[in-house]
């Protein structure tokens, strides 16, 4: 059907508006509806039923299924723009997790730009700006290998399907594990998550494991002298958790070691100052 002059100017106007709103893909359907002579209310409803609209605002169907309200095109587009800004602001590589499909997943789960900011900051801290040991700990704990390991790690953090508190806990665990690795000590997911769960921070882990790395070999030698053993777990408990049993053990070993030196010294002094023969 050929458009009349009035219809053509309406179509041109629609094209300009829809393009300026960032939804030029709706122009062909809008043009058809104008030619059909539908009224304003009908055009909006009909436009919302088109394939192009459903594809462009794909998260809305998922939101409605999840009991969330559908977003207006403006809300939708504004949220996408906010997501993109957050990703740029946090230094996420261009083209990384900023596709419409990625945003669809975020919008479908009602992730706010503030939440995405928090996730992106976490991901950046762990994978882009933080120590390599932290990344190694993450890969060791939560998987990740090969050239795409970083991408997958970032995606796992940005994925709104993973609860934010869980993501934060894993980040802390990776930082605790990273602290151990940085000190040349072994680490495990269970212990790192346990310490992170007790609120041990990455900085505390670096300092604590540094101390443990210095103390542990000495204390193990001392313990060996007295027929005992000291392990990394006891050191971690004493250092990070102020475990009284572990601390007392460390203290006792230290005192025993000190006592041993005192007795040695006394023996040496007596040997030098008192006669040792014929006194008994």
């Amino acid at each position: 059907m050929a458009a009349t002059q009035a219809q053509q100017s309406a179509i041109d106007w629609f094209r300009a508006l829809l393009t300026s709103w960032g939804i030029a893909e709706l122009v062909p359907d809008a043009s058809k509806l104008v030619l059909q002579g539908l009224g304003a209310d009908s055009v909006t409803l009909a436009l919302q039923q088109t394939k192009a609209y459903k594809k462009r605002f794909a998260a809305n169907d998922l939101r409605v299924k999840a009991g969330l309200p559908a977003l207006t095109p403006k809300e939708y587009i504004d949220t996408e723009a906010a997501y993109a800004q957050v990703l740029r602001q946090t230094g996420m590589p261009k083209g990384f997790y900023d596709s419409r499909d990625d945003f669809t997943s975020l919008l479908a789960r009602d992730a706010s730009p503030a939440e995405l900011l928090q996730r992106a900051q976490t991901a950046a801290r762990l994978f882009l700006t933080g120590p390599a040991e932290n990344r190694r700990a993450w890969f060791s704990f939560y998987g990740g290998d090969g050239p795409d390991a970083v991408s997958h790690g970032i995606a796992a953090i940005l994925d709104p399907g993973a609860a934010l508190p869980l993501v934060e806990q894993r980040r802390l665990a990776a930082e605790v594990g990273g602290g151990a690795l940085a000190a040349g000590l072994p680490t495990s997911r269970a212990q790192a998550e346990r310490l992170a769960g007790f609120g041990v921070s990455g900085e505390q882990a670096v300092a604590g494991y540094g101390q443990i790395a210095r103390d542990l070999p000495v204390e193990q030698q001392v313990a060996q002298r007295f027929g005992e053993t000291v392990g990394l777990g006891e050191e971690e408990s004493a250092t990070f958790l102020a475990d009284p049993v572990a601390r007392r053990k460390k203290q006792r070993l230290a005192e025993s070691e000190a006592g041993l030196f005192d007795r040695s010294a006394a023996a040496s002094a007596t040997a030098l100052s008192r006669p040792t023969v014929g006194q008994y």
Partner: protein, 288 residues
Amino acid sequence: MDIAAALKQYGFVGSLANSIPELKRILTRAAAGSWSADEFSRAVQDSRWWKNSADAVKQYQILKVTKPGEFKAQRDALVAKARTLAAEMGVGLGEGRGSALGHLVDMAQLHGWDEATLRQSIGHQLHGARATFGGQAGEVQQQIRALYYDMGVPYSSYTVNLSVRHVLEGRGTVAGVQASVAAAAKSRYPALAAQIDAGHTVRQVADPYIQAKAQLLEVAPDTVTLQDATVRKALTWVDTGTGHHTLMPLWQYEQQVKADPKWQRTKNARDDYSALAHQVGRDFGFVT
């Protein structure tokens, strides 16, 4: 006794008998038999003419024979009256020999018509299937045309003019025509039956639709008639939900009017499209 003597002896009846064949034969026999005046009178009264002719006809013939001056004056008066009535009624009777006027006056004088009968006979002379009448016929013609027009019932000039003739003849009334047009309208627009019964015309009921179309297409309202296809569709709409005849909702009707290519050329269309884009912008949240 010869005929001339008989005519003298029998007076005006004899003169009358001379002008009527049956009576003339009696007159001839009376002259030959030298009938007395009474015998002649009895023979005339026994004639078929006397027995079968109406009093008015007999008086007409008697007057014509016995008082030609009065007869003529009476006829002239009838001619004048017939002319006046015909002019009032808007019926052309013609003039001169062989005209309807002469014939009607003859008949009126012969049968002693009263004015109502004369009017009726003049009305019968209304001819012309497509003619536009003047006078009373014109008024009635206008009224009847208006009835059809206001009720949205198609009509032909023949039908209208026939009804006009019936009204002028006294065989029908405008009210009667109105009733039959109303019945036709109810059959044509079942949804409007109650309103028609209540005295509304179809045109009155259709006025919002007519005005809406006129406004949307930016034309004069009187150019949109009840015969307009869109208006007729609105008045004969069937609600698919109930299956009943009802008036089409105005919003739906307006959509149908806008489907007319003429609407696309109006300022309304341009304004509408502008409002359309604005509304979509508002629905989408881009326009506050």
